[in-house]
Symmetry: C2
Subunit: 223 residues, 2 copies
């Protein structure tokens, strides 16, 4: 029997991860979407993730991991989200977030007997997070192939980062071709309880710029 290969896809509910999920599916994988309730300010992005996974016919799992206990970020602590571009790595950086997300994805992949993990990191139009860089992904890949029973028994894990070299505009164009419904995605760091964007934070800035440069209508719902 030629079973479709499973892949775990990290899905935050934002524009990048939704596109990444569509790409995993287009590459012929049976996508298993993983979202993490890590103490985000709002749950609208998890609801968006749920809708997106359902639209694309992906299995979906939400795992709880309370990063508020650790704090240290505007996204998990009582630090205001800035509305101007910051120099350097911004306060929305969550300590070790992608390391933790990829580790959970690895754990689930091992249980599913999947060898492929997708993460929608991007090193072009991004906020300067250290855990979005290619050298970080390479180091995680090396770790994954030492960390698990499946690796010891011969599985070779592959961390896929299909967006890593794309501009936001290119991501949007690729996603539209694959039928991604960007109205359902929530990227804003401080969306309201209806999922409407502020239009002012870093994430809104890069997203709006992406739609503009892609030459398509901005499908974001603003408040």
């Amino acid at each position: 029997m030629n079973k479709t290969k499973k892949a775990v896809v990290l899905l935050s509910g934002g524009l990048d991860s939704a596109t990444c999920l569509a790409m995993a599916k287009a590459q012929g994988f049976a996508p298993h979407a993983l979202s993490v309730r890590y103490g985000q300010r709002h749950s609208v992005e998890l609801e968006a993730a749920q809708r997106l996974a359902a639209q694309m016919g992906a299995e979906h799992k939400i795992v709880d991991m309370d990063l508020r206990a650790i704090g240290g970020s505007a996204l998990t602590d009582d630090i205001a989200v800035p509305e101007t571009r910051e120099k350097g790595i911004p306060v929305t950086y969550v300590p070790a977030r992608n390391t933790l997300m990829l580790s959970l994805a690895l754990g689930w992949a091992e249980v599913l007997e999947a060898a492929d993990i997708f993460i929608g990191v991007n090193a072009v139009d991004y906020s300067g997070y250290p855990d979005c860089r290619p050298e970080f992904i390479q180091a995680f890949s090396r770790l994954a192939n030492l960390a698990t029973r499946a690796a010891v028994e011969g599985t070779e894990y592959r961390i896929h980062t299909p967006l890593i070299d794309m501009t936001k505009a290119e991501i949007i164009q690729a996603g539209l071709k694959l039928g991604v419904d960007y109205r359902q995605t929530v990227s804003c760091y401080q969306a309201d309880e209806l999922g409407r964007a502020c239009g002012r934070c870093d994430s809104c800035h890069y997203r709006a710029q992406g739609f503009r440069e892609a030459g398509v209508e901005d499908m974001t719902r603003y408040r």
Copy 2:
């Protein structure tokens, strides 16, 4: 001012991690103990961790991370804990556990501005888990130094594994010299709600053997 350097110490409440905490303290660090409520069968080991941290004057934090959502282990799923030695990696292996624990420790270390992380892994009298091997620790260390804002800004993370080459007997002897109260530790994979050990699982086996070889009384409370 010559401030004592902080270190994050992973503390499960078992014999190894308790010894590791005592060693971090003996090396002059201000230890910050981190325990994870990951869906263990019982909470007695977390209570043990709490008592041990208090005894040794360490800060203590418990973080929730629901690994039952992923499953795949006798420790987080409805799989029986075996009472005979298994060949290969046993069913008590939790997918990606040490990767996740170290990632949380890294996140907290970054918030605390600590560069040192202690983990009580052991590659001698152990259960054959892949994420206890020196090459895994080296790969994580490499990852930590790419994953974080602090690393980008110059912090050099060190992952300390003081127990890695010690036998269980040597660990016990070292811990006794440092005043570790092994009566407070819970190692059993299926301890009862009073923290009493089964005396039959893998973990009980290696622990009892350790006390025997160390030539000291077995301080484990059995049921």
